[in-house]
Symmetry: C2
Subunit: 200 residues, 2 copies
DNA sequence: ATTACAAGAATGAATGGTCATTCATGTTTT
DNA sequence: AAAACATGAATGACCATTCATTCTTGTAAT
């Protein structure tokens, strides 16, 4: 079996196991079993357990950020951009529930290194929202009294909490479309200068 | 020293230590040291490490819920009620950063029991928001197309994410007042039938 | 085409360190 | 002098990590 293949097999096994049991409760042997390799094999590809966690972020989360930024660059209406962000985030979280759980739960551990990692990456990610809002303010679409730094958190927090509950509960599911529509209808009405304006 | 005293000394030591190191990384001996008791003493008051975590929730979180519900019962304008919820939540999280971290980080661990606990408590807590929104819809103040179940999460998520960042970063702090005002100005404009209506 | 050999990959049992928990003993309170 | 409370060293379970060994693959000589 090719090396690259095994590397990614371990990553996705780890994502699954971390999501299910949590980083600390997950055993290397669980991951090995899930990936159908021997315990020792994992150490041919990763330095230690913690390194596996970081790799999960780097590889999986990076993809999401990249993808979102690409899509955003094709659109310049700040209202549409907010919509794109919301939909992409929700889709990404829905598509890979294991990853979503790992991000939402494990990324919140208070470890210094994770914290730094998160600061370097998720604050980039949520920074995208702040940027969209600033642009919208410049072009007079969004209210100038809105503080982008607070609004970005409110918006991200709203999306994050909603997708968190997907994983944690058995409640009735709304579709991504429905959710995005609701959230946007609240936020756009909430931050626009003239809420009756719809994009396009 | 009286027993009750020691019990709560351990609770608050545990809150502090869990917040700082995370549940799994925290050692019983850390908690014992922080509480200035012997390791073994902890087992006179709690069954095991996990039991300490649950007790932290039951005792500390219960207070917040109770307090919020009391304040809400004195007010029946749904717009004011939302404001009260926001301010109380932010104040509670700000007042006890250790507790806030424990709630936000540890409560998200995927353990079955915690999950059930959370379902029984936090869904009550966020349920308060949904209830406020439903009432507001009945009295024609909030838009009837808003889904209370989604809006409650959006609102809670916004508050939660903002207070989470208090703990996780060194960024410029806004005051509780400022934050509550911003969030409410977004959400009230976002969900009201006629956003130009202000309460009172 | 077959055999021989080496290098890399994979294995999983054994190791060692880290705590949660216990309990024999000591101390304080009534 | 009981009873209740408190102590902290000792125990033992757990699991990340290691490493001696086995397996696989590719190359080259015959």
């Amino acid at each position: 079996m090719k090396a690259e293949n095994k590397h990614s097999k371990i990553i996705s096994a780890a994502t699954k196991v971390f999501a299910k049991k949590g980083f600390f409760t997950a055993r290397i042997s669980d991951i090995a079993k899930e990936a159908k390799v021997a315990d020792g094999t994992i150490y041919l590809y990763f330095n230690n357990k913690y390194d596996i966690l970081l790799s999960v972020f780097e590889e999986e989360v990076g993809k999401i950020v990249e993808n979102t930024e690409k899509l955003l660059s094709l659109e310049d209406d700040p209202r549409k951009q907010l919509e794109i962000f919301a939909i992409q985030h929700l889709l990404a979280m829905k598509k890979n529930r294991h990853l979503a759980e790992v991000i939402q739960i494990e990324l919140r551990q208070t470890h210094k290194i994770i914290k730094e990692y998160r600061d370097n990456n998720f604050s980039n990610y949520t920074g995208i929202i702040a940027e969209i809002i600033r642009n919208g303010q410049k072009s007079g679409i969004y209210r100038s009294d809105i503080k982008p730094d607070l609004a970005k958190r409110a918006f991200f927090g709203a999306l994050d909490e909603i997708s968190r509950v997907w994983n944690a509960s058995l409640e009735t599911n709304y579709s991504v479309k429905e959710i995005a529509t609701q959230i946007l209808s609240i936020f756009l009405a909430g931050i626009q200068v003239d809420p009756s304006n719809l994009p396009e």
